[in-house]
């Protein structure tokens, strides 16, 4: 861990300005991901701006009947919120399928969206990794890739985005709200928030330098049956091998988003229209263009079967 300085911000605008002011500064929320990465010097911020006291820890209704989730709302609180459990159950279930009780008590909504990949080579500073050290090469391509991405990959990186919460937010068409150091605000649809690796796997989201996430908004409830099915080797405390977030039959449509497949929560809206023809037809569309490695090719049949089971349940 490199030495760093620390300050506590009192408001969103001040936090963004503070990060803009110091080169190499970063926000810290729950710290459950950032601190681990700092210990390994995968992240080496020179200055930390603590956003835990800037407010933004409430959940409130929006004028159009949706929900606005503050960036600092803890994963535990979000999963337990009565409105979330009733109207956005897929989100509550996805959250509870992630990490552990202790981690969820600290982890925040914004931090969860921004958590970094669990690719084992990314975590090993002694090995080449384009995401950690652009241009050094990708150790996973020819290496241990069992749990890595099968679709949307590039020759530079085959990492996955590990979040469960983000997959549920993707199926719910969430929007990410931000404020920049100059006070400007933006709303970014979640579909455009996370990026595919391309030639720059180190660039993971649409956020600009020092841009602070203030909230995530959900559109008005869809109804339907909400499912989050996370497949993993052990029963708890493991990242998804594949996961399916589904809202079935809400407003006459089926919606599916997938975790464990790609560098971002994976969703192919066009394929959802094929639901009437069965799970395989949807999966064909979802997995079109997949480029698995030998080690993770099993994720394709696994995803098909998981989707079929989700639909049949």
């Amino acid at each position: 861990m490199r030495a760093f300085t620390y300050e506590r911000a009192a408001s969103p605008a001040e936090a963004a300005a503070a990060v803009a002011r110091t080169r190499g500064a970063k926000f810290i929320a729950g710290g459950t991901n950032l601190l681990d990465l700092m210990k390994l010097e995968i992240e080496t911020p020179t200055h930390l701006v603590d956003v835990n006291r800037i407010g933004l820890d409430g959940i409130e209704g929006t004028p159009d009947g949706g929900l606005r989730i503050g960036a600092l709302v803890r994963n535990t609180a979000l999963a337990a919120d009565a409105r979330v459990r009733k109207d956005y159950a897929v989100l509550s279930r996805a959250l509870l399928a992630g990490a552990s009780g202790q981690l969820r008590n600290k982890a925040t909504t914004a931090g969860n969206l921004l958590q970094r990949t669990r690719c084992p080579y990314f975590y090993d500073p002694a090995r080449p990794c384009n995401k950690r050290e652009p241009g050094s090469g990708c150790s996973a391509l020819e290496g241990f890739s069992r749990n890595l991405a099968v679709i949307g990959t590039s020759g530079a990186c085959i990492a996955t985005h590990p979040s469960d919460m983000a997959v549920a937010m993707r199926v719910l068409d969430a929007t990410i709200e931000t404020v920049s150091p100059d006070g400007a605000t933006r709303s970014i649809p979640i579909a455009e928030f996370h990026r595919l690796p391309g030639d720059t796997p180190e660039v993971e989201t649409a956020l600009r330098p020092a841009e602070l996430i203030t909230a995530v908004t959900l559109p008005k409830p869809l109804g339907g049956r909400h499912v989050y099915r996370k497949v993993r080797d052990r029963a708890s405390y493991a990242f998804a091998t594949v996961s399916v977030a589904a809202v079935i039959g809400g407003d006459g449509r089926n919606r599916f988003a997938f975790g464990g497949l790609a560098h971002k929560p994976w969703r192919v809206e066009a394929a959802e229209a094929e639901s009437g023809r069965g799970a395989d037809a949807v999966a064909d569309g979802v997995l079109a263009g997949a480029t698995p490695t030998r080690e993770n090719a099993f994720k394709l049949p696994l995803l098909r079967r998981t989707l079929a089971a989700t639909l049949a349940a």
Binding site: P120, S139, A279, A309
Partner: protein, 736 residues
């Protein structure tokens, strides 16, 4: 005292304290955070500096250049040790662990530098600033399968050849010829390896997390070239070892070297990611099993070849050894073979040998049961043997209740509800199956001593180098002392893990409870004599009860006899040659029910039962607890534990507890453990045998056999992860 003839009646048989489920006497310290582990000694070392080990990025080759100038200039840095400035050490002793002795690299994460700074964070940051230029060797072997054919016999594990295996196997009416593989596995104990070293003149004190105090003294003094009498090792509490802490790594040695150089105490702990490659692990195995049987299931020929790899000078994983004893059969061929690999060094882990040997053998038995159409429980009963199959009836087992374990277990588990036809039980989305396996663990014994004393309060103090690595040693040794001296457990103090105390068996190979208890027994025998003498009694016919010693109607309190100076005795058990005459092992039958998700192939254990026969159970509570741990490890070995080799870098790539998966609470259902009544008078005066590792031996195979019963898919390549099952599952029905 030597234990060389079967034990007669003795005070342990009273069963007043021994055999009772006494709560852990160290429990309150543990749950209140007052049990001090090696790295946590702060008050004793107010001035301690912090060391951080830098490990090698290559698996084999040498360091061309190492430049620590930048690191040395960083804030708080006091010292950087590399091979360029570390004094010469000695590598020849069995427990020695020389560090930083030259530019040569023998394994990934081998220590190549130690940075010492005022804080841990400063040392860690500076370690990253050390520049290293490596010359990696062009050759190197990391894949067991690729070097298996170049393997050699292992002198420590001689071939067992009985009868004519080849002919008998060829002629057998039923033949099974299968190969199982098990991966490299990591101990993954909770407490990382950690040491604090301090010098007082030429005397070195090391607090370290270690299972075997006298080996540690040996290794530290041997490596540093100082007399053993100048080294004090303390390890009062150890947060799990599972074999990993039988040996020494960089932490105690480099802490000692740095402390000497700096003239102040130095603490060194390994980080979790380092542990997976720097310390040892259980080597992967390839196991070829051939069984020839008669149509009634009786084995006529049994062959087990176990291959493993290790660094030059490393030991084999002796995965075939249990096959020498577990079942009958006139014709036998059992061989252990070793190849050279350049992976991190392999070593003892959680029941070395049997734990992975039974993963193969006991699944092969399940396959044989299916081939012969005989129930798997019945098949094992038919092949039971009450003596060493190689030596004949002249070497009977000291005690062996495998058949009883099977019968009791089958009844309790509801084995008769198992459908022998695989893949025939459905429960909603789950495919459900049951499996069984035998467990056997060699009963090892080790010499062990203790000093026991009674003070004027009538309190008994037991002191021995024995360690408690979470097993319950404090408690059971207290029970033995209480039983021997006629005291309640509240009147006993137990002090462990200090090299100033008499040498003990230490904790390893499940020999600790029986051996160290026998050591305390021996010491207490002496103390009883001393007390009887002091009281003026003829020591033959005294009784010790209620804090008093009595004979011929007279009675005196121990407190009074001990008086101002107290009374003490140091005794020791040495084990004679009884195991030449008697084969000695603990036995178990493990039963498992699993459910496999028919869509995703996720495997979840529903029920586990272990019925164990392990001699006298000194404390049913701590023993059960040991079995719970073993059973959990069995589930881990069956379903998830695997160190993934990346041959390009010559190391284990999944090196943290997120990626090296062990079972979590959600993976473990209610566990059921039953101990059969058994007294083994050939094992020691305690009449107990090893328990801890028995809990793991065979469990994984019971899980795998249940998976087969649930799905009809036989996987011979551990662990049984869902990707391996998936191709064999039936197609999902199409729906629209």
């Amino acid at each position: 005292m030597e234990f060389s003839t079967p034990a007669g009646p003795n005070p342990i048989d009273t069963g007043r304290v021994v055999t009772k489920p006494v709560d852990r006497i160290d429990g309150p310290l543990k749950v209140s955070g007052r049990a001090t582990y090696a790295y946590e000694y702060h008050d004793e070392f107010p001035n301690a500096a912090y060391g951080f080990v830098l490990g090698s990025a290559i698996p084999k080759g040498y360091i061309e250049a190492i430049d620590a100038r930048e690191a040395e200039a960083m804030p708080g840095v006091l010292l950087v040790l590399t091979h360029n400035n570390t004094p010469k050490q000695n590598g020849s002793g069995q427990h020695n662990s020389p560090q930083l002795q030259g530019p040569g690299i023998k394994q990934a994460e081998q220590a190549i530098a130690l940075v010492v700074a005022e804080s841990f964070e400063q040392a860690r940051a500076a370690a990253r600033a050390i520049r290293v230029r490596y010359a990696r060797a062009k050759t190197g072997h990391y894949d067991l399968a690729a070097v298996k054919d170049a393997s050699r016999p292992v002198p420590k594990s001689p071939d067992s050849k009985v009868g004519e295996f080849d002919r008998a196997f060829a002629d057998a009416p039923v033949k099974l010829d299968v190969t199982y593989t098990t991966p490299d596995q990591s101990h993954a104990m909770m407490e990382p390896h950690a040491s604090v070293a301090r010098w007082d003149g030429d005397k070195l004190t090391v607090y370290t997390a270690n299972q075997m105090i006298h080996w540690a003294v040996d290794g530290i003094s041997g490596t540093l070239g100082i007399p053993a009498s100048k080294v004090r090792v303390q390890s009062a509490f150890v947060g799990g070892g599972f074999g990993s802490k039988l040996f020494l790594y960089a932490d105690p040695i480099l802490a000692a070297v740095a402390a000497k150089r700096l003239g102040r105490p130095v603490k060194v702990a390994l980080t979790r990611p380092q542990i997976f490659n720097h310390t040892n692990h259980r080597p992967a195995t390839i196991q070829h099993i051939r069984i020839g049987a008669a149509p009634d299931g009786k084995i006529v020929a049994i062959g087990h070849d176990a291959f493993s790899g290790n660094q030059e000078g490393g030991e084999a994983e002796e995965a075939a050894n249990q096959t020498k004893l577990l079942y009958g059969g006139e014709n036998r061929l059992i061989r252990t073979r070793l190849s050279e690999l350049n992976l991190p060094k392999g070593g003892a882990m959680r029941a070395p040998g049997e734990a992975v040997g039974l993963l193969a053998l006991e699944c092969a038995m399940d396959e044989l049961a299916e081939k012969t159409g005989i129930d798997p429980v019945e098949l094992r009963i038919r092949n039971d043997i009450q003596y060493d199959p190689a030596k004949g009836p002249d070497r009977p087992f000291s005690s062996r209740k495998l058949v009883e374990c099977m019968r009791v277990g089958a009844e309790r588990f509801g084995w008769n509800r198992r459908d022998p036809k695989p893949a025939s039980v459905r429960d909603g989305r789950w495919l459900v199956g049951m499996g069984v396996a035998s467990g056997i663990r060699d009963n090892l014994v080790m010499p062990s001593g203790a000093r026991v004393s009674v003070d004027r309060e009538g309190v008994l103090t037991i002191e021995t180098q024995m360690t408690d690595i979470g097993t319950g040693s404090y408690t059971i040794l207290g029970q033995v002392g209480a039983e021997m001296m006629g005291l309640p457990i509240e009147k006993v103090r137990v002090r462990l893990g200090d090299s100033d105390f008499p040498k003990s068996s230490g904790s390893g190979g499940s020999w600790g409870a029986n051996s160290a208890s026998a050591g305390v027994y021996a010491a207490c025998e002496g103390l009883r004599d001393e007390i009887a003498k002091k009281a003026g009694f003829n020591s033959r016919d005294v009784t010790f009860a209620d804090g008093h010693v009595s004979a011929a109607g007279r009675s005196r309190s121990l407190a009074e006899i001990a008086g101002q100076d107290g009374v003490a005795f140091t005794g020791e058990v040495k084990f004679g040659k009884l195991d030449d005459t008697y084969a000695q092992a603990s036995f178990a039958a493990h039963f498992c029910e699993v459910a496999v998700d028919w869509a995703t192939a996720e495997i979840r254990v529903r029920r586990l039962l272990s019925v164990c026969a392990a001699g006298r159970i000194i404390n049913p509570k701590t023993s059960r607890n040991q079995c719970f741990g073993g059973m959990t490890m069995g589930v881990g070995a069956a379903l998830m534990e695997e160190q993934v080799v990346d041959g390009r870098f010559g190391y284990f790539v999944n090196h943290d507890l997120a990626e090296y998966q062990v079972p979590v609470h959600a993976d473990i259902p209610d566990l059921d453990v039953v101990f059969l009544d058994e007294i083994d008078d050939k094992s020691s005066w305690i009449k107990a045998k090893g328990v801890g590792e028995l809990g793991i031996c065979g469990v994984g195979a019971a899980v795998a056999n249940a998976v087969y019963n649930a799905t009809g898919i036989r996987i011979r390549d551990y662990p049984l992860t869902l990707d391996k099952l998936l191709p064999g599952l039936p197609e999902m029905p199409r729906q629209s």
